[in-house]
């Protein structure tokens, strides 16, 4: 139930090679997040799995059976689209019932499943409304409802939260995670937001230009990024990178240090700098410190409210055990 294997999958549009040969193994019940900057091929990869696009070469197997030439309707997967793609001329009930109707299920069974989905997702209050009368969050729930009634082998989510406002996004993130725990079904989730990836995933697949840069659990990627791209992409705010003298000191091309792994002091430290912009979030404070020998200012996190002013001289010290070293190719040195 819900094991997906990609074997040497490629995709090109005309002459443009979007996905070079790619292998991936998704285990049953796993919550996998494809993350990467826009244009990295993550949505294409999801659509290949869905069957909405043809692969140029390679094979896809679902639960051990070859699904390469199986049309989307027969793959037993359900998808939640970025725009929700609800059927505007049908009520919420009809929307959710649609896949079951297509499967020629009996009406009694359809009603039972729709009511059940409505209960899980709290849709009961607006079950007879049209999608046009719903808010963004409600539409999102309906789209998920339409996906779960089919009891698919796996759920595919294509940037499902990107049209919601920030507060709602946090809520829906929790709800989807909760749903995954409840259903225990494989979920593949595409996003460009590394926060979503970190908070939801069992396994993150970081993509760049169609290539898998690294696969691992959120903490693995955070602690031991395989290369400079993953190091920079995962974590918020971004990891600071230093080259030249500071890096040479550690015998490599580039060193990276996360904002939370820099100690800041007025008196002494490894690097001397001047405070620029500071961002006070209450729980944390981020300082942008201009350091000699680095082109970009370094971002530093301090806990709580720290009172430093623009133009003050400060000293920064990296916590040695959290220092990342990269070679000339950007690969991590361990």
């Amino acid at each position: 139930m819900g094991q997906i294997t990609l074997n040497q999958v490629t995709k090109s549009f005309g002459d443009v090679n979007v996905i070079p040969p790619l292998d991936l193994e998704i285990k049953d019940g796993e919550f996998v997040v494809f993350v990467g900057p826009s244009g990295c091929g993550k949505s294409t990869l999801l659509r290949l799995i869905a069957g909405l696009e043809d692969m140029t070469s390679g094979h896809i197997a679902i639960d051990g059976k070859d699904a390469t030439d199986v049309p989307p309707a027969k793959r037993g997967l359900a998808m939640v689209f970025q725009s929700y793609a609800l059927y505007p001329h049908m009520s919420v009930r009809k929307n959710i019932a649609f896949p079951l109707k297509m499967a020629k299920m009996e009406q009694a069974e359809i009603d039972k499943r729709v009511d059940n989905a409505a209960k899980i997702l709290n849709l009961a209050d607006y079950i007879d409304r049209r999608p046009g009368q719903l808010s963004g969050g409600q539409r999102q729930r309906v789209a998920i409802g339409r996906a779960i009634v089919r009891e698919p082998a796996a759920f595919l989510f294509d940037e499902p939260l990107s049209n919601l406002d920030a507060a709602l996004r946090v809520n829906m993130r929790l709800e989807i995670s909760e749903l995954h725990k409840q259903l225990d079904t494989t979920m593949i989730y595409v996003t460009h937001d590394q926060v979503e990836a970190m908070t939801m995933a069992d396994k993150i697949v970081v993509l760049r230009a169609g290539n898998i840069e690294q696969v691992g659990s959120p903490l693995e990627l955070y602690r031991t990024p395989r290369n400079q791209f993953v190091a920079g992409f995962i974590g918020s705010p971004k990891m600071n990178f230093l080259t030249d003298a500071a890096a040479a000191e550690h015998g490599c091309k580039t060193i990276g240090i996360r904002p939370e792994h820099l100690d800041i002091s007025r008196e002494s430290g490894a690097w001397k700098g001047v405070v620029g912009v500071s961002e006070h979030l209450g729980s944390d404070t981020f300082f942008h410190v201009k350091v000699e020998g680095s082109k970009d200012p370094l971002t530093v996190r301090a806990s709580g409210e720290v009172d430093l002013h623009r133009g003050e001289t400060v000293f920064l010290t990296p916590q040695g055990e959290h220092l990342h070293k990269f070679d000339a190719q950007g690969l991590a040195i361990r």
Partner: protein, 276 residues
């Protein structure tokens, strides 16, 4: 957002617009008025506008002289049949162009439109011959086919522009939900495109209703629609204005009323979906 509109300016606009609108509408109004006059009043100088003896006599004469209901029925069958048949053929084609576009889609669309520019008169005799061979001359079936082919490019184009408005993701969702291609078109695309399909239907019904080359040249007695009914008033009966007006009113009334009631749909249809 909106600024207060000066009432005086609004009054001037209203007066100007109404004047122009009535001027444009006047020939129709005059025809309808004249149809209720006696022949003498119809040509009186100075003309009378409302102060005449209203009479239905002309309608009686026209109905007596020709079988209006048969012409009307022929018009309905020919215009309705050709439009519905055209839409049935155009929906799948427009689906293909809107949702599976290729490099050639635009060329095919423009080629289809360009077939509409072929002068009908250039192929009149061949069609005439073919119709004799196939026994289609003076038959409603024949005209349904010809008018369907005449309007097919426009139907395809209009449906294409309406379909393009529908996000492809919704059709993909249906596909993921297990719908076959036919189910996708019947349950999702068609209901979503109902306003567009209605506009297309209306506009092409009107175009077919008013078509006056093939309907005049390919029919005689049996299948002649209202265009032929009115053409018989060319001359010298055309000099009897009141009767001519009554016949004209009867020929245009059905479509005029239909047009007025469906005005909103039609305006969007009139733009052939090309102007938003």
């Amino acid at each position: 957002m909106a600024r207060a509109v000066n009432t005086q300016r609004k009054a001037i606009n209203t007066a100007a617009a109404w004047t122009v609108a009535l001027l444009i509408f006047f020939p129709i109004l005059w025809t309808i008025l004249t149809s209720f006059k006696t022949e003498a009043q119809a040509i009186s100088d100075p003309p009378v506008f409302f102060a005449f003896d209203w009479t239905l006599e002309n309608y009686g004469v026209v109905l007596e002289r020709s079988n209006y209901s048969r012409f009307l029925w022929n018009s309905i069958i020919i215009a309705g049949g050709s439009t519905i048949l055209g839409i049935l053929i155009a929906v799948p084609a427009a689906w293909s162009m809107a949702f599976v576009p290729s490099k050639r889609t635009k060329d095919i669309l423009l080629w289809m439109l360009s077939t509409k520019m072929l002068p009908a008169v250039g192929v009149l005799y061949p069609i005439y011959l073919l119709f004799i061979k196939l026994g289609l001359l003076d038959s409603r079936t024949g005209l349904v086919i010809v008018l369907m082919l005449m309007n097919l490019p426009i139907i395809v184009w209009m449906l294409y522009t309406y379909f393009k408005e529908i996000p492809g993701e919704i059709l993909e969702a249906a596909r993921m939900d297990g719908a076959s291609l036919k189910e996708e078109i019947v349950h999702i695309l068609t209901p979503m495109a109902i306003p567009g399909i209605a506009s297309t239907l209306l506009l092409n019904f009107i175009l077919a209703w008013n078509e006056a080359f093939w309907t005049l040249n390919l029919t005689a007695a049996k299948a002649a629609p209202l265009t032929a009914f009115i053409a018989s008033y060319s001359s010298p009966e055309g000099l009897f204005y009141a009767k001519l007006s009554a016949a004209s009113t009867m020929a245009i009334a059905p479509i005029l009323v239909l047009g007025w009631f469906s005005q909103k749909q039609l305006v969007s249809g009139l733009t052939f979906g090309a102007v938003k």
